[in-house]
Point group: C2
Chain length 385, copies 2
């Protein structure tokens, strides 16, 4: 058989068929009143997902583009930037700031653990205050959630801007952009928003606008002043990805039909299911329950080469799992449980994974992981995330 591709990587995630169908609607001109009313409606809905009243832009780019937009709009060469690194994507954010000339201090934490607020406070207290703090809400490379509320509280009465990468959590977790004091909140389309890749989302606080307005634009594509001017007319300054906007409309309809709190709870539930299953088959989870992600779980496999596990799972059973990134390459696998996925598929993925482990010689009893995952569903366990 031409294998089905079962995407359990943390993005791109499976796309619902109604979203795919919506994307086939005829493309309209992006300087039309129809487009303006579509974009205005979508922005208002995404603001609800972000829990923000700030300006919000839908960029035709990946999430990395939105990270660059935030940096390029605010950072001058030589500016101090404090990058909180809990994994691969924290490092990427720091790399972007360096590319734009910032003097970046990387505060690195053990991969698999969250940001330690006391260490951040100590770094801030050493001064001088950085222009920006770069943080990752949900570190996709380790499956760890960071305390953005705590960071926001530290920066509340300072001029420092808080830039947050929520690429792999927005839409799946309770993220309070305004309450937490986030100046730039960033996500992209191919994660919990259930779309193909191609869109990024960026919110900009009034505090951030003051810095941007005092700054000479350096990027052309990501010139946020140009984006703001166009948005006033309902447009984007450059050609937008109209088909993905149609898809976004359908995906948001799904999220609001279910209800955001219900969506968040579902993701916590699925994370517990996966964690129980992985433990049941002898995997060691990278992140402790206290800071575990609701969307992606990283684990070490018991006594077998993780790359062999991934290759066999994909080749023989169409199961795509992610591997480790950066310093965790070859050491962990990562299983996504975000977006358009359900119990049947998660249980199926766990069953295939334990079968693959066994085929590679791991001491896994058939059904051991699935049994624990079923037990977790049956008993409806405790809180997570």
């Amino acid at each position: 058989m031409q294998r089905k591709q079962h995407l359990f990587i943390p993005g791109p995630t499976p796309v619902p068929p109604d979203v795919t169908a919506a994307m086939t609607r005829p493309v309209i001109g992006h300087r039309s009143s129809e487009f303006a009313s579509l974009q205005r409606s979508l922005v208002a809905q995404v603001q609800k997902v972000f829990q923000t009243k700030n300006d919000l832009f839908i960029l035709t780019s990946s999430g990395t583009g939105a990270m660059e937009a935030a940096v390029a709009a605010t950072v001058e060469p030589g500016d101090r930037v404090l990058a909180l690194v809990t994994g691969h994507f924290g490092n990427r954010f720091a790399d972007i700031a360096e590319r734009w000339g910032a003097k970046v201090e990387r505060l690195e934490f053990t991969w698999g653990e969250p940001v330690d607020l006391a260490a951040v406070k100590a770094a801030l207290d050493r001064g001088p205050l950085p222009k920006a703090v770069l943080a990752t809400h949900n570190e996709t490379s380790t499956g760890v959630v960071n305390d953005i509320a705590g960071l926001g509280a530290l920066l509340k009465d300072t001029p420092t801007l808080l830039m947050v990468d929520a690429v792999s959590s927005m839409g799946a977790m309770d993220i309070r952009t305004d309450e937490w004091g986030v100046d730039f909140m960033i996500t992209s389309s191919q994660k919990a928003l259930m779309l193909p890749p191609g869109l990024a989302f960026l919110s900009v606080s009034p505090k951030a606008w003051k810095v941007i307005e005092a700054h000479k634009p350096r990027s052309y594509y990501f010139d946020l002043l140009a984006w703001r001017r166009s948005a006033e007319k309902g447009f984007s300054p450059w050609t937008p990805n109209v088909a993905l906007l149609y898809g976004l409309e359908a995906a948001l309809a799904r999220l609001f039909a279910e209800g955001l709190p219900q969506v968040w709870e579902r993701h916590r539930r699925f994370a517990r299911l996966v964690r129980a299953g992985l433990r049941g088959m002898g995997c060691e989870l990278l992140a402790q329950d206290a800071w575990a992600s609701a969307t992606v779980t990283a684990a070490r496999t018991p006594g077998v080469d993780v790359e062999e596990v991934r290759a066999l799972a994909r080749r023989e059973y169409g199961l795509s799992l992610a591997g480790g990134k950066g310093k965790l390459a070859g050491q962990i696998l990562r299983l996504s449980h975000m977006g358009y996925v359900d119990e049947l598929e998660l249980l199926g993925a766990l069953a295939v994974l334990e079968l693959v482990l066994r085929r590679l010689g791991a001491p896994v009893a058939p059904g051991a992981g699935v049994a624990r995952a079923e037990e977790e569903i049956f008993t409806g366990g405790g809180a997570l995330g």
Copy 2:
């Protein structure tokens, strides 16, 4: 979440995305040379699936329409017809013959068991010979395979026509239309051919044509002489379902890319997986291994109401299972493992089923069925079907 619909009913089965995409191609006129070359190519390919050199028609109807076409083209009021009934769909075939005026003798066998050739021989020996024998290759309502080769041998040197319903097996099992001496072989689109419903397929032997030619057409839509005249020009006499023909082209490409023997073997393998899993969770299988279908498995659930099982599975986990039909209504559930389905999904469906059984109070240990199914994959067990 708006639940995913996981179709494990024995038709319609899941449609591969490339098949769905093919169906969106612009519709062409059905009296064009493009259409003729499409239909000719498709007929030649479906003949390979049928293992026949006989004429083959692609009808815009369900499988029931093709059954009616065979009967209406050959049976005169008062003709004797012997209907071999091993389940619900055997009865339907008999009903059709009665509607067209045949004097139908129903030879009924225990549901869950196959046709007993000795009983058929005895009925034929009692004479006079029937105009036609109606048989079901794969009885969808019980998951039983009948010995069509054996039936063909009994009728080989007689004027009796052999009409076979292979709706739920064609494309998934090794069906030798010509070698077995089948005069009318019938299937439809929404089963192992991985298409949405809407097409039926009917092959007609030279022996059958002699009867048809001597018969005054009674149906208009299903007038096979009209179908043959149109087919000579590459057309169908009435408007064909062009989009489904595009889909058929894509589905056949999948079957031939994998190889028909490999497709048949895959179905046997999945049947063993499902049977092991159901037994592992304490279900009693309706059909013995010796005559078990490679595409659908029927089972009694251990001490819980099967309709409650189906309702809970569908409502809470999006898992669609079929129930019993006719005299087995409320007594069994039926799980399809045909077409576009894979190990991950079958293991997931078994996990959900055992979870549902447990939620309804059945004495099922978590993971018990999945463990047996994994074991079956791991050890790669014996032959089936």
